[in-house]
């Protein structure tokens, strides 16, 4: 077990890519989250999984309890807006009747799952029925109207024509169906970020069974942290079943160093925000959830 102050605890870390071509077609990077959930579902390790599916408006995510490969595939790709995944956590065990629940989500949602497991306040059946969690790397998130402002006002693209969005190399990238590529420097997008993200002390989903994201790996590949015994078991079986191509993280560029740098940037910045909240008013502090 490796323990890093910024990257959390993990058993191992690799760079990987799905071998499923259909998944890769619309995947954000290496298709890791989608492939893992499809594999776990088809092998009976989970009965269904909470994913960020399609909402009512273009690029609006909506949490969905997916119980088929098709439903999981509909959730491929990153949507840069808020999807309240955990709102289905208890319902998945009730209305949906799942005994083994999978959850995909960002760092704070992995934290929410673990809190619900250790302190299940009105979360009957949840602690023992969370079977598998895949967490995503996450720097910050945007309210829907923020994302709309970035894409429509700053990048000057219609949301309905967008094929893919991406945050990488210091820019917010917008790719349209007709092949247009527009970028917005992150300097311009910072002010649109969801405020709740600024007290978050996790960049790489430290509390997931397996966490994944693009940072650290070459284009089209993802960095994967295997964190828990359960995560390790499922990952080993999936690799043995040929679901992924893998490379040692030490052999790829830009590698763990970039990941560490970004994780440190986010966490240090947010630690500072938490410190500043202590003296926000005149003899009045803003609340600290970690105290």
């Amino acid at each position: 077990m490796i323990e890093d102050p910024y990257l959390g605890k993990y058993i191992s870390c690799v760079s990987a890519r799905s071998t499923d071509r259909e998944i890769l077609k619309k995947a954000q990077d290496g298709g890791i989250a989608t492939t893992l959930m499809v594999y776990a579902l088809e092998e009976g390790m989970i009965d269904g999984t909470i994913v960020a599916g399609e909402g009512d408006r273009p690029w609006q995510p909506k949490p969905v309890v997916a119980m088929t490969r098709e439903d999981i595939l509909k959730a491929r790709g990153t949507k840069y807006s808020i999807s309240p995944q955990i709102s289905w956590l208890k319902e998945a065990t009730r209305s949906f009747g799942l005994d083994k629940v999978g959850v995909t989500g960002v760092c704070c949602q992995m934290q929410a799952v673990r809190k619900a497991q250790l302190y299940p306040i009105n979360m009957r059946d949840v602690p023992d029925k969370v079977a598998f969690t895949v967490g995503l790397f996450c720097m910050e998130n945007f309210p829907y109207k923020s994302m709309q402002s970035i894409v429509e006002d700053h990048a000057a693209q219609s949301l309905g024509s967008v094929k893919k969005m991406e945050i990488t190399k210091g820019k917010f990238w917008v790719y349209t169906e007709r092949g247009n590529v527009a970028t917005v420097p992150l300097k311009a997008t910072h002010k649109y970020e969801q405020p709740g993200c600024h007290v978050c002390l996790d960049y790489v989903s430290n509390l997931a069974d397996i966490s994944t994201g693009s940072v650290g790996s070459p284009d089209g590949w993802s960095t994967v942290f295997i964190r828990t015994k359960k995560g390790n078991e499922i990952w080993s079986k999936a690799v043995a079943a040929g679901m992924f191509e893998t490379k040692p993280i030490e052999d790829v560029k830009p590698g763990l160093d970039l990941l560490k740098k970004l994780a440190k940037e986010k966490i240090d910045k947010n630690q500072k925000t938490i410190e500043e909240r202590k003296t926000f008013g005149v003899n009045k502090a803003l609340r600290n959830p970690y105290a």
């Binding site: 959390g8 605890k9 949490p63 807006s81 808020i82 999807s83 309240p84 995944q85 955990i86 709102s87 289905w88 956590l89 208890k90 319902e91 989500g105 704070c108 949602q109 934290q111 929410a112 673990r114 809190k115 619900a116 497991q117 250790l118 302190y119 299940p120 306040i121 009105n122 979360m123 009957r124 059946d125 949840v126 602690p127 023992d128 998130n141 309210p143 829907y144 109207k145 969801q194 405020p195 709740g196 993200c197 600024h198 007290v199 978050c200 002390l201 430290n206 509390l207 828990t228 015994k229 803003l286 609340r287 959830p289 970690y290």
Partner: protein
């Protein structure tokens, strides 16, 4: 009956089961080690619906294990034949206190006097919950009008919010209370860390509402739209609109669950990140057929 007998005959079970059961019973009464350091737990019933007690019982074999190895149930109107409130290590109090009912007021004070740790079990004891909506005027005690959470009458040490509180949280608190009182130094430290946020909730106050999410999470710039509040709401009063909680405030029963469950109400970095090992400790403590003490 005839069918059952014929099935038994075919399976060769005739007259055998009773004998097997007896042998088992004899085995079970032989204790490998005498259990001496069990803690004393009581369930005190104030004005509540017994749903919290049902939740406690819903731990099934886990409850049997707790009562076998870690705790004696020394007081419980429903399950133990004891008339007066005895000395206890942990009192689990269900329900709020009707202040027009002398006996209830005396009982809750007596509970405080005789218990090392008082736990508000469930949302009525913690926050008043549905009993907040009482207006009295009902047979056969129309004057029984005012119900207060126990924290308005006595000091409370730990809150277990929920309507009903989940069996798993009751189990966790029971195991941690045992470790706190009877464990080694490490176990005591872990139990102290685990129970702290639930003790902080008890210090925080006796009112619970969806409004807590507005006042202490959203207005404080802490909400990140994870949706936990909606999952925890027992009356489905919370939906997420554009990623933020909206409460149907007339539906809210004042149980305080959403605030307690929210990862931005408390998130103790010395406990939750250790979820894997702590879950193993709790599961280990409840494993059948083994005794830790």
């Amino acid at each position: 009956m005839g069918l059952l007998n014929s099935i038994k005959k075919i399976m060769g079970w005739e007259a055998k089961p009773a004998q097997v059961a007896m042998e088992k019973k004899v085995e079970a009464t032989k204790e490998i080690k005498p259990v001496t350091n069990k803690i004393k737990i009581g369930h005190v019933h104030m004005s509540g619906c017994t749903g919290c007690l049902v939740s406690l019982a819903d731990n099934n074999l886990g409850l049997i294990k707790i009562l076998d190895d870690y705790a004696d149930l020394v007081y419980c109107l429903t399950l133990a034949d004891v008339r007066n409130i005895p000395e206890m290590d942990v009192a689990l109090v269900e329900g709020s206190v009707c202040i027009q009912d002398k006996e209830s007021v005396e009982d809750i004070k007596e509970t405080r006097k005789k218990s090392k740790i008082v736990v508000a079990l469930g949302s009525c004891a913690s926050y008043g919950n549905i009993t907040r909506f009482s207006r009295g005027g009902q047979h056969n005690q129309p004057q029984h009008e005012s119900f207060l959470p126990i924290g308005d009458i006595i000091d409370v040490d730990v809150y277990i919010p929920g309507c009903p509180p989940s069996p798993e949280l009751i189990r966790n608190v029971a195991v941690m209370a045992y470790l706190l009182l009877e464990g080694n130094e490490d176990q005591k430290a872990l139990a102290g860390k685990y129970l702290k946020p639930l003790m902080d909730l008890a210090k925080r106050g006796t009112t619970g509402c969806f409004c807590d999410l507005m006042n202490d999470v959203i207005n404080q710039g802490l909400c990140m739209g994870c949706g936990t509040c909606a999952a925890s709401c027992p009356v489905r009063a919370i939906t997420l609109e554009f990623g933020k909680p909206q409460g149907e405030r007339d539906l809210c029963i004042k149980c305080g669950s959403c605030y307690g469950a929210c990862p931005r109400s408390f998130f103790n970095l010395d406990v939750i990140p250790e979820f894997e090992s702590i879950s193993e400790i709790i599961a280990g403590a409840l494993k059948e057929g083994e005794s830790d003490d």
